[in-house]
């Protein structure tokens, strides 16, 4: 389903080139739960950005459902990201000018919807699944870190993506909240979505089934 093949990304620092991601290869099947871990600066975010089509690799290919992301133009890539990839960036990403419910519904309106329809009932269902249904009408400023994270998961799922990607979704959460969030990812994987989560702590994953990729200086460890 998702194939990452020999992907590399070069950066330049102090006049010297170095590989932030260096020849990474792996696959994630439908319903698979993959966890990428490693120290800070090991290339986790860079790799995720490449997989999400937000960053072009210098080498290698990323194939999602047969489409090579590295070869697509902005319009096709944006459309694919909108339809097939739910991306949860590191840190806060819930838009502060919209309510939690509107944030959740927003990706529906950013893509082409030939059939029309409305995303709000699905958004409410997702917020219920995330356990924050009662916060639907609130603005992000009124939410806690764990609630914001759950809102961004709901938003990433609104277009029923094939692939869900989260960058350090538990970094600013206490262990209880972190466990809740991780189990939500595991549930999502069980529902048939390919899930990739980046983390630098694995405590919150105890008791969950996942395949692990460890990064060190851009290489698989």
């Amino acid at each position: 389903m998702l194939t990452v093949n020999n992907v590399s990304k070069l950066y330049r620092r102090g006049g010297r080139e170095f590989a932030a991601v260096d020849g990474i290869t792996f696959t994630v099947a439908k319903g698979g739960f993959t966890v990428i871990s490693g120290h800070s600066g090991s290339g986790k975010s860079t790799l995720l950005n490449i997989i999400a089509g937000l960053l072009k690799p210098d080498n290698g290919t990323v194939t999602l459902d047969g489409a090579d992301l590295t070869a697509l133009g902005d319009r096709e890539l944006s459309e694919l990201r909108n339809q097939k990839i739910g991306y949860i960036p590191q840190g806060h990403s819930v838009l502060e000018n919209l309510t939690v419910l509107e944030n959740t519904a927003l990706p529906f309106y950013l893509g082409k919807r030939p059939g029309g329809g409305e995303p709000y009932s699905a958004a409410k269902t997702l917020l219920t699944r995330m356990g924050i249904a009662e916060l639907a009408g609130q603005y992000p400023a009124e939410l806690s870190g764990g609630e914001l994270r759950r809102a961004s998961i709901a938003r990433a799922l609104i277009n029923s993506p094939a692939l869900l990607i989260a960058d350090e979704p538990t970094s600013d959460l206490d262990l209880d909240n972190a466990r809740t969030v991780m189990s939500l990812f595991a549930d999502t994987a069980n529902s048939g979505v390919a899930v990739i989560v980046v983390t630098h702590e694995t405590q919150s994953l105890e008791g969950l089934t996942y395949s692990s990729i460890k990064l060190k200086s851009g290489k698989e460890d």
Binding site: L55, I85, E102, L110, E118
Partner: protein, 402 residues
């Protein structure tokens, strides 16, 4: 539930950031005010110059030497003036060989006292020979001026059928003229017999310079020069032929040229100020937009991560700035309307030049063009910031203040 299309998202972003919006819209409102104000002022001045040229159906005014400036002041600004020739000299002047047509006029300036209802310039015209004033006076009074009738300029209080007192005598207002933007707006027109009566009253009441004048005096002779005679030739002929009598020649072309020169330099100043302000406003807006767009880099990165195309993102930013511009332009239009309609009479006086209020059509045109320019100011100024953000790598946008 709301559809979150581009317009709805832009509106939301604007309304949830009132301080930012007010700052940006304020600059546009100021721009709208300056553009509209400058446009209306320019139009009024152009109207004034046009009105002047349309009413200067003569080539020259002959006045006593030394009173050329007073004659100009009377014509352009309605400044009360008092100067006279003898009737006998006037006859001889009108008989000059270079003259095609000539008509005498008598100026009497009203008093600032209980004897007069308004401070005006009395102008006596001779209906038999007049070719300058009568053609457009007759628009207001088809029957012509009868003895004792007065026609009043637009800025004089009173209306047709009412009575006004000048030099202690009551006159019937026969008609009121439309606005001209020049001295005629504060002038009172009478026929020559009526002017003579008023002049006798003036002298009897001790009017300035009256003791030196005879009651059959004439203030100026309005001249149309023969076609084959140049204006220079004509002036030289009068100055030489009447060198003993001291006759001054005011050429209307020279007068009009100086007015249009003044007009052109005024319009240049206004245009330069408006253009400079437009550029300054554009600069300020560009800086403000670039700052606010920069502050929102991460937000725009999130939009891209959710699948917004570059075009969608640019459209969102441009729509926001267009809405801000629109709001500013509306506010500016209201503001300038308030200012303009409170001060419109003062504007003409302050300009010290022929000024004729723009008509409804001209006002609408000025408003619309200024509105269009103000409206594009926002998108124009935010275009650069929008281009920069849409061409940034999304992963870099997302790294900002995470």
């Amino acid at each position: 539930m709301r559809r979150l299309n581009t317009l709805a998202l832009s509106l939301r972003n604007i309304l949830r950031r009132p301080y930012r919006t007010v700052c940006l819209a304020g600059v546009v409102a100021l721009l709208m005010c300056v553009l509209t104000g400058g446009g209306l002022l320019t139009t009024g001045l152009r109207n004034g110059a046009e009105s002047l040229s349309g009413r200067l159906g003569a080539d020259a005014l002959l006045v006593p030497a030394g009173y050329e400036h007073e004659a100009e002041g009377a014509l352009l600004r309605g400044e009360p003036s008092a100067f006279w020739f003898d009737a006998e000299l006037a006859e001889r002047l009108m008989a000059d060989v270079n003259i095609e047509r000539a008509t005498p006029q008598l100026f009497i300036s009203s008093f600032d006292s209980e004897h007069c209802d308004a401070k005006v310039q009395f102008i006596g015209v001779d209906p038999a020979t007049d070719f300058v004033v009568s053609p457009w006076l007759s628009e207001s009074l088809p029957g012509g001026l009868r003895d004792g009738d007065i026609i009043i300029g637009s800025k004089i209080t009173g209306k047709a059928g009412s009575f006004l007192t000048f030099f202690g005598r009551k006159y019937t207002v026969a008609a009121k003229l439309a606005e001209t933007g020049i001295g005629f707006d504060t002038s009172v027109f009478v026929n020559m017999p009526t002017a003579r009566t008023a002049f006798r009253d003036y002298i009897a009441l001790g009017g300035q310079g009256g003791s030196t004048a005879t009651t059959d005096a004439v203030s100026s002779i309005v001249v149309k020069v023969k076609r084959d005679v140049s204006l220079t030739e004509f002036s030289r002929g009068i100055r030489y032929g009447f060198r003993a009598e001291n006759v001054g020649v005011v050429l209307t072309k020279t007068l009009f040229d100086s007015v249009s020169r003044g007009l052109e330099s005024m319009i240049t100043v206004i245009t330069v100020i408006a253009a400079a302000l437009f550029l300054a406003a554009l600069g300020v807006l560009a800086i403000l937009f670039s700052v606010t767009v920069n502050e929102r880099r991460r937000e725009f990165g999130v939009y891209r991560a959710m699948g917004a195309t570059k075009i969608k993102l640019a459209t969102l930013i441009l729509t926001e700035s267009a809405l801000v511009s629109f709001t500013g332009a509306i506010v500016g239009a209201g503001l300038i309307a308030l200012i303009y309609f409170s001060f419109d009479t003062a504007i003409g006086l302050a300009a010290d030049m022929p000024y004729l209020k723009p008509n409804a059509e001209q006002i609408a045109f000025t408003l619309l063009t200024s509105f269009a320019v103000s409206l594009i100011a926002g998108p124009l100024a935010s275009g650069f910031a929008a281009g920069r953000i849409t061409n940034s790598v999304t992963s870099v946008l997302l790294r900002e203040n995470a």
